[in-house]
Structures are given as structure tokens and as C-alpha cells.
């Protein structure tokens, strides 16, 4: 593996797995940084495309996707840290840990795609859903189905072809997570022949209703009574 000399890989280990599935980009300059030499797998590697120069709507879509990946990765990481996953049966723990690793890799990938346009990780409050196995599982199933619907809706809206291709590669992983989660809890992994897309605003409303994210949308206080703090 000594010919795996992508500087990005060395810099950020979290990307190492994530990048493997992301294939090339229509702009040749991304290929400059691709792995040279190596076997078939190495030949497939390339750095993720970047939003630099992409349409502002593309940037906005990836920024939203990043917040969503922050939400998911923090959810799984917190559940792991609290010891909830360690108490699960082996196959279920594998599922929960795999999803956490993937969502953390997605954060790393999308941050790299966004470059300086990447926002900071918001603050989250999962309101007890990371502490009980049952509540964690139900939240995870809903979250993965929602992410699949989100990416199904957002991907065709992207203008840049390389970013679109990358989004397809992430969308199917979220769909796998959702199917795996549903199978674990004993519901049909594929509820329909088609996944129905959700709009960015639709997903934003659902996420807001969970009150998991504290700082994604700063609220104006003018029409609100001051919060009781005593």
C-alpha cells in the first residue's frame, strides 16, 4: 500500500474509506491529485469534487447536506460514547457502529467538497434518544429513511455533473443504511418500488420539528416571549 500516496488520505484518515467510492469528476484538474500507480482499487481513487466555482445553489445544497451529516454522525457518535451500542447484540452493534463510521466519513467528504464554504458543526440535543436502545433504533430508522428521501430529492437538483455523481454515491449508502435498519427492526426494508424524494425545505421542517439542532437556524426573538430561565 506504499503507493497510496494521496496527500489527502494522509492528512485525514477519516476520508480514507470514504473516498474510495467517490469516483472521478468531469473537471480534469481533480485527476491531478488522484492516486498514481497501485492496483485496480487504487486506480479508482480520486479526490472528491469541490464546489469551488460551482453554482451557488449547489453550494447551498451541499451545506445543507453537511448539516444533516453532522446531525447523523453526532447522533451515532454520542450513542457509542454513552455505551448504548456496547449493550446491543453483536449484529445490531455492528450495524450501529458501521452507520456511525459512514456518517463521520460523509462529514469528512462533504467538508472537503465544500472547502472554505463548509459550515461549523451545530450544537445538538438528542433529547434522550441516544441513551435507550429502543429510542435510538427508532430514531435511526426514521433518520436514514429521511436522508434517503433528502438525497433522492437533492441529487437531481445539482448543476455540476461531478457533484451530482458524488451525491448518487452517497444516496445509495443512505438507502442501504435505511434498508439495513428496517430489516433489523423487522419491517420491510424496501417499502415501495420507488423512493419518493423530499425537498430541502420539507426535510428542514422535519428536522426542525425534532428540535435536535440548536443552532442550524438562529431564531429571531422579536415575536417571542423571553424563555423562562429560572
Amino acid at each position: 500500500m506504499s503507493d497510496l500516496t494521496l496527500e489527502e488520505l494522509d492528512q485525514d484518515g477519516a476520508i480514507q474509506e470514504g473516498i474510495a467510492g467517490l469516483y472521478g469528476h468531469s473537471r480534469a484538474d481533480f485527476l491531478r491529485k488522484a492516486v498514481v500507480g497501485g492496483g485496480v482499487l487504487m486506480a479508482a481513487l480520486s479526490v472528491p469534487p469541490r464546489v469551488e466555482g460551482a453554482a451557488s445553489s449547489d453550494v447551498r445544497i451541499f451545506q445543507f447536506a453537511l448539516n444533516f451529516e453532522y446531525l447523523q454522525s453526532t447522533f451515532y457518535t454520542e450513542t457509542e460514547r454513552l455505551g448504548t451500542i456496547a449493550k446491543m447484540a453483536a449484529r445490531k452493534a455492528l450495524w450501529a457502529r458501521t452507520l456511525g463510521a459512514h456518517e463521520r466519513a460523509h462529514v469528512a467528504i462533504i467538508k472537503k467538497v465544500l472547502g472554505p464554504a463548509a459550515g461549523k458543526r451545530p450544537f445538538f440535543n438528542f433529547r434522550g434518544n441516544t441513551e435507550s436502545e429502543d429510542r435510538f433504533t427508532r430514531t435511526a430508522v426514521a433518520m436514514e429513511d429521511l436522508t434517503t428521501a433528502l438525497l433522492t430529492g437533492l441529487t437531481p437538483k445539482l448543476k455540476d455533473q461531478g457533484l451530482t455523481a458524488a451525491a448518487f454515491s452517497l444516496m445509495t449508502v443512505e438507502a442501504r443504511h435505511a434498508a439495513w435498519a428496517r430489516h433489523l427492526v423487522g419491517v420491510l426494508p424496501v417499502a415501495s418500488a420507488f423512493d419518493e424524494p423530499k425537498s430541502l425545505n420539507g426535510v428542514d421542517r422535519i428536522v426542525a420539528s425534532t428540535r435536535f439542532i440548536s443552532t442550524l437556524r438562529p431564531r429571531t426573538t422579536t415575536s417571542r416571549n423571553p424563555r423562562f430561565t429560572g
Binding site: 472521478g24 480534469a28 458501521t98 454515491s169 445509495t172 439495513w180 420507488f194
Partner: protein, 218 residues
């Protein structure tokens, strides 16, 4: 008959790096070979002359037709597989449920693609699965290969489609990935092997099917 084997045998490995300007060169190369082979590129396989590689090609409605016919052909292969597997595979339990549910999905995908393609749709091919439908374990293994391959094929072509039809392709793509994860979990394999799913070029898709003993003819 000069079939897709000729193309595959001499193909450069993978389509993932063949992007941008390289892709156009490769594409015209494919066309040249197609011409050399008497234009019979489709016979016996999946390859359709002028199909773009992965996320590589300028979008057009003409190209949409080629891509959608390629995906339609894959859907026909899967639907035929599940139909044969249900009849011959001696299935019980969850694998039987999988074959029944997923077979129905693939038929709906065919209906959607036929609706988009209209008169431009290619006819249904005949497919032989060798021993792939003969027992529950063969059915499971072949189904897993087919679903992984279909998912990777959609990923490989999704971004090449024009926006109008990309939405429909996206609605199918995630479902193929769900199928792959479901059958993988039934088989105690890895339902989600990577944080980002790899794409497959048409050549890779064609090779994967051939390796699994699936032969397709007009």
C-alpha cells in the same frame, strides 16, 4: 458474431478514471470498435454503442435514450431472474419473500422506463442464468450480485442523464441499493460495505454479469 466479449476483453480497466476529455476519447474508441465489429455491439450483452462511461459525458436526449435502454435491459434481466427463481428455486421463508417483493419492484421499474422511452424502447432480451436459479443459495448469491451490479450501474449513469429523467433514475437507484442491502443482510454479508458506493461502467456491469454466468441475447 462479435459480441461484447470482444469489447470487454480489450477494455481498459474500469471507467472511474475515464472522465472529462479522456471519456470522449474512450467513447469514440468504443464507437470505432463497434463499427469494426459490424455494429453488432448489443448482441449477447448489455453494451450499447455510444453509452457514456461514468459521469463523463455531455447530457442530451439522444444519450438519455441510450442510457435508459441500457438500464431497461438490466431491469429486464432482473425481472426475468426473479420470475425464474420463483418458479425453479424451491424457495421458502425470507428469500421467497425477497424474490416476490423485489421481482414486483423490478417490473414497476420496467413499466416506468418503458413509459419514458415510448417508441424508443428496445425489445426485451432473452436471458439465461445457468445454475443461478436452481436452489435457494444460488438464488441468494445471484440476487445479491444482480442488485449490487444494478445499483452501481445506476450510480454510474445517473449524472449523465438530463434533469427531467434523472429524477426518475434517482427514485430507482436508491431502491436498487435497498434491495442489495436487504439480500446482503439475509445472506449475513455486509449490507453497506463502504461510506460511498462505487459506480460501475457499462463494461464492468457487463463483465460482472458474465462472470456470474448470466448470458443475455436478443
Amino acid at each position: 458474431m462479435s459480441d461484447s466479449d470482444d469489447l470487454n476483453a480489450s477494455a481498459e480497466d474500469g471507467g472511474w478514471r475515464n472522465v472529462g476529455a479522456e471519456a470522449f476519447a474512450s467513447r469514440s474508441d468504443v464507437l470505432k470498435r463497434a463499427a469494426a465489429a459490424g455494429g453488432a455491439v448489443v448482441a449477447g450483452g448489455l453494451l450499447i454503442a455510444g453509452l457514456p462511461k461514468v459521469a463523463a459525458s455531455a447530457r442530451s436526449q439522444e444519450q438519455d435514450v441510450r442510457i435508459l435502454n441500457y438500464l431497461l435491459r438490466l431491469e429486464y434481466v432482473m425481472a426475468a431472474f426473479y420470475e425464474t427463481a420463483a418458479a425453479e428455486g424451491q424457495l421458502t421463508g425470507e428469500i421467497q419473500q425477497f424474490v416476490s417483493v423485489v421481482g414486483e419492484h423490478e417490473r414497476k421499474h420496467i413499466a416506468l422506463l418503458l413509459g419514458i422511452l415510448g417508441d424508443d424502447a428496445d425489445p426485451e432480451p432473452s436471458v439465461d442464468f445457468g445454475p443461478g436459479t436452481s436452489s435457494p443459495s444460488e438464488v441468494g448469491a445471484t440476487a445479491h450480485m444482480l442488485e449490487e451490479t444494478a445499483s452501481a450501474a445506476y450510480i454510474g449513469q445517473g449524472a449523465n442523464l438530463t434533469k427531467g429523467v434523472m429524477i426518475d433514475a434517482a427514485r430507482i437507484t436508491s431502491v436498487e441499493a435497498r434491495h442489495a442491502a436487504w439480500i446482503a443482510d439475509i445472506l449475513q454479508r455486509d449490507p453497506a460495505p463502504a461510506p460511498a458506493d462505487p459506480a460501475k461502467s457499462p463494461k464492468q456491469v457487463s463483465a460482472a454479469l458474465r462472470r456470474a454466468g448470466v448470458s443475455i441475447s436478443d
